[in-house]
């Protein structure tokens, strides 16, 4: 049985550093699979116009396709070309909750994320996705600076 590491990507530099770190660990472990996760921030409790609702289904497909083509697919390809087993997932919802859910569902050994890229009031009020993950995750979390 191989070890599984869940890596949270956000299309930014900090996500890439998390991925680099995960690859270094994978190399040390040997038999290891990387699960790359991109979460599109979404809540079922927002307020939208009727027009936005009518177009939502199509917009969601676009968002998923974009996340795959811009972030997840190139990252998976790069990791695989480095000789690791890897797969990618794109999900809608809360970052901290979903990274934890995927990791628990896959029976992973740990989660690797970059330091949060959010700033300003939102982070002060709600905390960053990274700190929420660290607080609530059910398995070890590595935060890469």
């Amino acid at each position: 049985m191989s070890l599984k590491i869940v890596v949270g990507l956000d299309g930014s530099g900090s996500g890439n550093r998390a991925l680099d770190h995960a690859k270094r660990m994978a190399k040390l472990v040997g038999s290891c699979e990387l699960i790359l996760v991109y979460v599109i921030e979404w809540s079922p409790y927002t307020f939208q116009t009727p027009e936005e609702n009518a177009k939502r289904h199509g917009r969601r497909e676009e968002e998923i396709a974009l996340a795959h083509s811009r972030v997840i697919d190139p990252a998976v390809a790069a990791v695989q070309s480095d000789g690791f087993k890897a797969k990618g997932v794109v999900l809608h919802g809360d970052v901290a909750t979903l990274l934890n859910e995927v990791a628990v569902g896959e029976d992973a050994s740990q989660i690797v994320v970059g330091r949060s890229s959010e700033h300003g009031i939102k982070q002060r009020v709600f905390g960053s996705a990274t700190s929420n993950l660290v607080m609530h995750a059910q398995l070890p979390v590595t935060v890469v600076a």
């Binding site: 079922p44 307020f47 939208q48 116009t49 009727p50 609702n53 009518a54 939502r56 289904h57 809608h92």
Partner: protein
């Protein structure tokens, strides 16, 4: 070129130096409008022969009662289940990112919660007395079953296009549902509904909103011609629906729920402060419901006003909500029907009742000390009020007895409510328009421009003709929609029974979240 500039300049100075001309524009708009809409209004509101009870009010209440009985009072049986569905207990996590039940409900609510709850209730209580509240609540409770029926059908028979967009509403369930059941005339009725829906969008969803927004603004800032408010509103609406400036709509959609909570909060505080009078106010509501307490039209007047305003406020049976609810992501159309039945509850049973209680307790309605009954105004058409106010002005005055600054907040709330209702109805109207004329940018633009022009007319006209036309157009939608619902309600029953039995058997389970 120079000539144009000169002409523009002369025009501008003329506008600035002739305030009398402003009033002239308002007057002529008003007269022309009342003349054009008069016959349509009289037809819809004609009373049953030998009575003064409008047939249309009976039509709505009978329908709501039929649906309540036919679905064995689903609004009470499934109330907890509805809340559980809105919370997302039955939503598949794999559908995250799609339109949730909560979002569909919130969107539909922002189309209905608005001036009907603030101004409409004041009109009802002003004419029909506090007793109108009783009938309003009853109509709201029964209306939950109408809403349930139409929104289930809205999802079941919606169109899903290749680009991922969805279109639903009465015009789709009438044409598809009738064809499926082999009932003739579906296409004709769908077209008829679309025509009335466009009129409703221009009336209640537009002119009434612009009109009352102007009344509120001029109440705070001082009198000025209505068409100025109209032009400003039309400009902003234009920017959103034609210019595609989503940020304005997005801000509104976020501020409106906040305003709604604040409105209910303020009403609650006023009620708590006057807690000793709540018993008396409820007494007034019950007494008034059956005796009329001497208001215009007596008990029947209270009943008609209560039913009318409830229907106008929560739109149950009208069919508009079915358009808004159709966008939800669900495999079970019935779940959206169940969610939608919360709408008349929140809108009418909670928010409208708050307004009515605050108006009753505030003492804004003048009581004759000799008889203990309400005094009529000089014209004898409504209850005399302190400061001779009506509509949104009455609500504003009533809330001002609790918080002197509240009229300012209410002015902002009214503007935002009016605006969000306009945005919603511009979409309902547009859906009806494209059903009639087909999709296409040019066709859509035509409707959107007409919509903006009606904002100006609505702000400039008097409340009387505007409210009459708005009611008439919206109720005309209900005539077609409810007829269709009678034919299609067995479809809903089948869906409901299948869903309930699968919940009972455990086939449909709550998802772990």
């Amino acid at each position: 070129m120079k000539n144009y500039k000169l002409a523009a300049l002369t025009g501008l100075t003329a506008l600035m130096s002739a305030p009398a001309a402003f009033a002239g524009i308002d007057e002529s708009v008003n007269a022309a409008f009342a003349k054009v809409t008069g016959p349509f209004v009289s037809l819809i509101f004609s009373p049953f022969p030998g009575t003064n009870f409008p047939w249309i009010v009976g039509w709505l209440v009978v329908a709501a009662t039929v649906f309540s009985v036919y679905f064995a009072f689903i609004q009470f049986r499934a109330f907890r289940l509805s809340i559980s569905i809105v919370k997302g207990d039955y939503s598949d996590p794999n559908d995250a990112g799609e339109v949730s039940h909560f979002q569909a409900l919130a969107t539909a609510l922002s189309g209905t919660v608005g001036l009907g709850n603030i101004a409409g209730v004041a009109v009802a209580v002003g004419i029909g007395g506090p007793g109108a509240t009783f009938w309003m609540i009853l109509a709201g409770l029964l209306g939950m079953a109408s809403k349930f029926t139409e929104c289930t059908l809205g999802v079941k028979y919606r169109n899903e296009y290749a680009d991922g967009t969805v279109s639903g509403g009465p015009m789709y369930y009438i044409s598809k549902g009738f064809a499926e059941r082999g009932v003739p005339g579906g296409k004709f009725m769908a077209v008829l509904f679309s025509i009335f829906c466009i009129l409703g969008a221009l009336g209640g969803g537009n002119m009434f909103q612009a009109n009352q927004a102007h009344a509120q603004i001029s109440g705070v800032l001082g009198e000025y011609p209505g068409w100025i408010t109209g032009v400003i509103f039309a400009g902003v609406v234009f920017a959103v629906i034609v210019g595609g400036i989503k940020s304005i709509a997005r801000v509104t959609e976020k501020v409106v729920p906040f305003m709604g909570v604040m409105y209910v909060g303020a009403a609650l505080i006023i009620l708590i402060v006057n807690a000793d009078q709540i018993g008396w106010a409820i007494g007034q509501i019950f007494n008034g419901a059956f005796t009329g307490l001497g208001v215009a039209g007596g008990m029947v007047g209270a009943l008609i006003q209560g039913f009318k305003r409830a229907a106008f406020s929560n739109e149950a049976g009208v069919g508009s909500a079915a358009i808004a609810h159709a966008a939800v992501r669900t495999k079970e159309p019935i779940t959206e029907g169940l969610v939608s039945l919360l709408e008349p509850f929140i809108d009418t049973v909670v928010i409208c009742t708050m307004t009515a209680l605050v108006i009753t307790i505030s003492g804004a309605l003048i009581v004759d000390p000799a008889t203990g009954n309400y005094m009529l105004n000089e014209a004898g058409s409504a209850i005399a009020t302190v400061g001779d106010v009506s509509g949104v002005g009455l609500t504003s005055a009533a809330f001002a007895t609790g918080f002197s600054w509240f009229p300012f907040v209410l002015a902002i709330a009214v503007i935002l409510f009016a605006f969000s209702t306009m945005i919603s109805w511009s979409y309902y109207g547009l859906k009806a328009w494209t059903y009639l004329f087909g999709e296409g940018q040019g066709k859509e633009l035509t409707f959107k421009i007409i919509f903006c022009i009606f904002v100006v007319i609505g702000a400039a006209a008097n409340l009387g003709p505007v409210i009459d036309f708005s009611d008439a157009a919206i109720f005309a939608m209900a005539v077609v929609n409810i007829t269709a619902l009678y034919f299609l309600m067995p479809v809903v029953k089948r869906e409901l029974e299948s869903f309930m039995s699968r919940i009972k058997s455990g086939e449909i389970k709550k998802f772990k979240h």
